[in-house]
Symmetry: C2
Subunit: 226 residues, 2 copies
């Protein structure tokens, strides 16, 4: 009987993981397509991305519900407990990333009402970095791989630098052309949204390291350990 129950519990954990990965795949796609919509100036694509938001919200609530059920009914200990708490946190991070993709798309539809400010170069680079971080953070979760998660944390500085660079470049343009003000601000906000997506990927990676190593590396804890 005990064996039967355990198998069932393992199945439930597998289902939880599958749901998180399903949500992750949708959010990864939203991020990729929001940048594509920006570069291609494709408002239709931007609206498609925005229409995916309710599905992501539903998935988040479903995952929360699953986690609460598992905590209440299974009363898991040690590593399973950490895994379930991680599930709660990842679903929150993914939901925010979905929101940020929607925020990007809102800026894209506004930007597309006016002529393009300049060919975007650093924004797609920042977007690519953010996407790589999200993908790798989820991989590190699936593989319980702290080393992979660590690489995600290291990429965060790259994302920060790109965002600062974009800020400088766009402000320089705005100083030359007054009519660029609104569009310039929108591009800076897009950069900021992408950087926040990178931050959420970093959150996930830090939580994975905590799950695997049982050590809290958030807020500079990693530096203390080295």
């Amino acid at each position: 009987m005990q064996g039967h129950t355990d198998t069932h519990f393992e199945e439930e954990l597998r289902d939880l993981k599958a749901e998180i990965l399903k949500m992750g795949a949708i959010v990864e796609e939203m991020i990729a397509r929001s940048t594509q919509a920006l570069v291609a100036r494709d408002s239709h694509m931007a609206e498609e991305v925005m229409s995916q938001d309710p599905e992501v919200n539903q998935l988040e609530m479903g995952i929360d519900e699953r986690c609460l059920q598992l905590l209440a009914l299974r009363q898991p200990a040690a590593s399973d407990l950490r895994f379930i708490i991680l599930g709660l946190k990842i679903s929150k991070d993914l939901e925010r990333m979905g929101d940020l993709s929607v925020d990007i798309c809102q800026q894209v539809t506004q930007l597309n009402l006016e002529p393009q400010l300049k060919p975007y170069q650093d924004l797609p680079r920042l977007a690519a970095t953010a996407q790589r971080m999200v993908k790798q953070a989820l991989d590190s979760f699936v593989k319980r791989d702290a080393e992979l998660a660590n690489q995600v944390c290291e990429m965060d500085d790259e994302a920060d630098d790109l965002k600062d660079q974009i800020f400088q470049d766009v402000v320089t343009i705005m100083q030359k052309e007054t009519e660029a003000a609104a569009r310039g601000v929108r591009l800076i906000l897009v950069a900021r949204h992408l950087e926040r997506i990178a931050d959420h990927a970093t959150n996930i990676a830090e939580e994975v390291i905590f799950m695997v190593n049982g050590k809290d590396i958030r807020h500079g804890g990693a530096k203390l350990r080295h």
Copy 2:
């Protein structure tokens, strides 16, 4: 023996609540002082706020640790479980609000290197709204008062509108004065940070409603109920 254990558990829950309120008080102060630093152009105060960030981070990790311990050792059911999960979520929201106050202060120190762009009016109003929301969200948590929490959710639209208004006003200024570009962007980012603080207060309020009513009103669930 059972009675003794229950009393001890109740004490632990009280301690958890006290820690959350302590963290909340510090973050409320950070938000208030970051706006004060903006309005008074006081870089010294801005730096003081930034120096509070490590304490907030420590409190978050301490609260997380407490919650995990309670979940692992006490295996609480039903309403206590929801309260502890809420503790995990609130500490995360508060930590982000602390980060956002730091972000505001970083912009303030940069803004203070140049002449003031214009007397700020809407920004302090937005800040006051955000502060009221944070305070009331924490009150609703302490009092387990869903009605109070509901009022916080309603204030969120006000914060959004103020942020949009600031965006419009600042862009108008930037269109007139090219040299206002960088400062204008910084003011818009401050407005955005304040609006995100309001969002986090709304998150807390929604979670309180969920704890009290056992119904998930996130993502428009509230509208379905009415």
